[in-house]
Amino acid sequence: MSFEYPEDLKYMDTHEYARLDGEIATIGITAFAVDQLGDIVFLELPDIGTALDKGEAFGTVESVKAVEELKAPVTGTVVDRNDALIDAPEQLADDPYGAAWLVKVRLDQVDDDMEDTLTAEEYQAQVEGE
């Protein structure tokens, strides 16, 4: 099976992504992760105003098969949360890089170089090597 790995995203080896737009990062999980999880039934996301620390857990995604912690790819403050997705977490499977984003975060450091993250190519190499 082949998955999309949009070039404009920064990837975590734990399958979260960040899309940077100025001081705002949109956080989600990858199509590969969604496929691995299978039928997703539950999503727990932080309230607006919550401080996230890069690499630390900020929520959970649960499928019939497994429950996984979500790890923050950036350090900052949650400014928006996808409540529609919390009500219908199965929609994560439809558009993980678009409508099914999880949270938007205002970065603490706008000039974050994201040096701990993977490029699309690196991430693809990692998951397809698994």
Partner: protein, 367 residues
């Protein structure tokens, strides 16, 4: 050292369908094909087929086979006629469950030899084999067919009709828990009206080539290939116990809600009887109950059950019921807290979520 995983004769046909495979009890088995929810729904509404060839299949032949098995199980086998089957448990001396299994009485063959088929769990097949070997006498010959035969479960409201298309004899004439040898695709097969989904259907044991052909034929008929994922959600909705999770060597059938297969008044002496007698007289200390949760969090195996802040038990199995739309779980709780309607809570990742004791099964098909 990792032991290499065994493959059933259907392995290539499953990987052809892009099944997601998983190690299970020493076998590499399909966990899902299209997705757990879809497969689950196919079995509840139409028909699905499961490769369960990994299960232990023992053939017992000889003299006084059932009377010898009777000393190992709490269910009365004296009225088990040829063509009938009994779901029961092997017990250890402390009344704990060695395994749950189905005993199929196949009657007497032309040579006058009694024949009994046992189907046991894959994870416990070796343990069961050793236990049975140590308990039955020379007059019973045991043959392990586990790797030699294919076992398919065809389950769902349309299962019998779909299967009938390839079988000469009338499958509708076989009662629930009945079985017979019938002709499938021109070859002999063992057909039992049993299952692990809460739906009607058959479990079919055949030679590998026949099994492969039957798998293909049923898929062509629109029967959905299903994996272990859907098998687990289906059995859990039907509140059927999973060995190693809900029942094990330390749980007795009376604690596990399997009292209906303990026939103390009718059954002569069997291993573990005195423990069950005491439990029956004094009552059990803990019971396996069904729980309904709010929200969508799954209470998984091992999560604590809390009552007024104290940990009082543990979840043994849990899922978000695809049919009912809410989370359900099985858990051991102290008997005083086991009544239907009792409110408890489940600790999920450090938070408490309310749960209510409900009747089992969670799902029951329309009669």
């Amino acid at each position: 050292m990792t032991e290499s995983l065994r493959h059933t004769p259907l392995y290539d046909l499953e990987t052809e369908l892009n099944a997601r495979m998983t190690p299970f009890s020493g076998w590499e088995m399909p966990v899902q094909f299209q997705g757990i929810k879809q497969e689950h729904q196919a079995v509840r509404e139409k028909a699905g087929i499961f490769d369960i060839s990994h299960m232990g299949k023992f053939l017992l032949q000889g003299t006084d086979v059932l009377p010898q098995l009777q000393t190992l199980v709490p269910s009365d086998l004296s009225n088990l006629q040829p063509g009938q089957a009994q779901y029961t448990v092997l017990l250890n001396p402390i009344g704990g469950i060695v395994d749950d299994l189905i005993i199929y009485n196949q009657g007497t063959n032309a040579q006058g030899t009694e024949q009994v088929q046992l189907i046991v769990n894959a994870a416990t097949a070796r343990k069961d084999w050793a236990w049975l070997q140590s308990q039955v006498q020379d007059r019973v010959q045991m043959t392990d067919q586990s790797e030699a035969m294919v076992l398919l479960a065809v389950q769902g409201p349309e299962a019998v009709e779909r299967l009938q298309a390839f079988v000469e004899e009338d499958l509708g004439a076989i009662d629930r828990f009945g079985h017979r040898v019938a002709t499938v695709l021109g070859q002999p097969g063992f057909f039992a009206r049993t299952g692990y989904t809460g739906e009607d259907g058959f479990e079919v044991m055949v030679e590998p080539e026949v099994g492969q052909a039957l798998w293909r034929s049923l898929l062509d008929q629109g029967v959905a290939p299903c994996g272990l994922g859907a098998r687990d959600t289906l059995r859990l909705e039907a509140a059927m116990a999973l060995y190693g999770q809900d029942i094990d060597d330390s749980t007795t059938p009376l604690e596990a809600g399997l009292g209906w297969l303990v026939h103390l008044d009718r059954t002569p002496d069997f291993v573990g009887r005195s423990v069950l007698e005491t439990q029956k007289q004094e009552g059990v200390v803990r019971r396996l109950v069904g729980l309904q949760l709010e929200g969508r969090n799954i209470a998984r195996h091992g999560y604590p059950i809390l009552h007024e802040g104290d940990e009082v038990g543990a979840v043994t199995s849990g899922t978000l019921s695809p049919t009912l739309g809410y989370p359900v779980a099985l858990a051991y709780v102290p008997t005083p807290l086991s009544k239907v309607g009792q409110t408890l809570s489940v600790g999920i990742r450090g938070k408490e979520y309310p749960a209510t004791v409900v009747k089992r099964p969670f799902y029951k098909r329309a009669a």
